[in-house]
Point group: C2
């Protein structure tokens, strides 16, 4: 898929997850994409926990998530993105481990879209419980979780079309200035 | 360009900037790509200041940057990405304005790559001076700056090949676990 199409078509589709198994090769392509992201001083603070085990996904959904995010239960795979502040630069109160995690996660989401897979980034979960279930060391923060699945519909485009039609974004003129702020 | 190619080819190329003007249409495509990123509760905390004025770029390079990042002076355009913590979610000490800015910036970098333009994300600058010169309100944080230029070489691939050959990333096995941390 063309880059700009993947960027336009990527959307959050938790209502469209199927349990069809996602091939390990596809998961690897997606993680390779995440890994290729830039980071402050190339520190690469990101870590990924890929959960495919049905029982673990169920446990996570029941304990670490609440409705409507318990829908992660319907994901064939759920990926957790973790990072440590101490593994990255913090400048004037800006901890760049979060920024760098965002760079990697966007690559992950776009690669999934490119492969026709659906995702849905979720930041609302019980981090302590997620850490306990997945045995994530205490100093790592769990930044995001996303299911990764084939769409319930025959194609990505069919899964995404309604959602993309109702997409709301601020006007470019509201978020962009030229030469100086406010212009 | 195919999505996975853009992800693989995107790299930081501050040594390869030309002053050839970048068309406004291309800047718009790149900002549209950034705008399409997801964000917590769709809050879209990102703001962009696009600097094309030669004198402003010179002033910024001299005052807000130090070597080797003064090379932004060679950019045809320099884009500053800003965001406010209060415009986004903060969960258990994780300010998601930085994460969401990362999602948008990766789209921006990939769209530039797709169009054959070079970028180089820089987080090391005097934020107070950048804010003063660009008249950015005090509560907005300047998260990142990147020059945006046509490559000095005839094509993006020629500009990027040496850099991509020396790319260093952690092994996928070092950053990925299956089912539980450490596995």
């Amino acid at each position: 898929m063309e880059t700009l199409d993947a960027i336009r078509k990527r959307c959050s589709l938790k209502g469209h997850l199927s349990k069809r198994p996602v091939e390990r090769e596809k998961v690897d392509i997606i993680l390779e994409a995440a890994r290729a992201a830039p980071s402050a001083r190339n520190l690469q603070p990101w870590r990924f926990v890929v959960v495919r085990d049905e029982q673990t996904i169920d446990e996570l959904a029941s304990i670490a998530f609440t409705e409507p995010n318990r829908v992660v239960r319907e994901g064939a795979v759920v990926i957790f993105i973790c990072a440590r502040e101490e593994d990255d630069v913090t400048r004037e109160g800006k901890p760049y481990y979060l920024f760098d995690a965002g760079l990697a996660v966007e690559n992950l989401l776009l690669a999934a879209t490119d492969l026709g897979l659906v995702t849905h980034p979720i930041l609302s979960f019980d981090e302590t419980e997620a850490r306990r279930i997945l045995e994530i060391p205490g100093e790592y923060r769990v930044v995001l979780a996303t299911p990764l699945s084939y769409p319930a519909e025959p194609s990505y485009d069919e899964a995404a079309s309604a959602r993309l039609n109702e997409r709301i974004r601020k006007d470019l003129r509201e978020i962009t200035f030229y030469e100086k702020w406010g212009k």
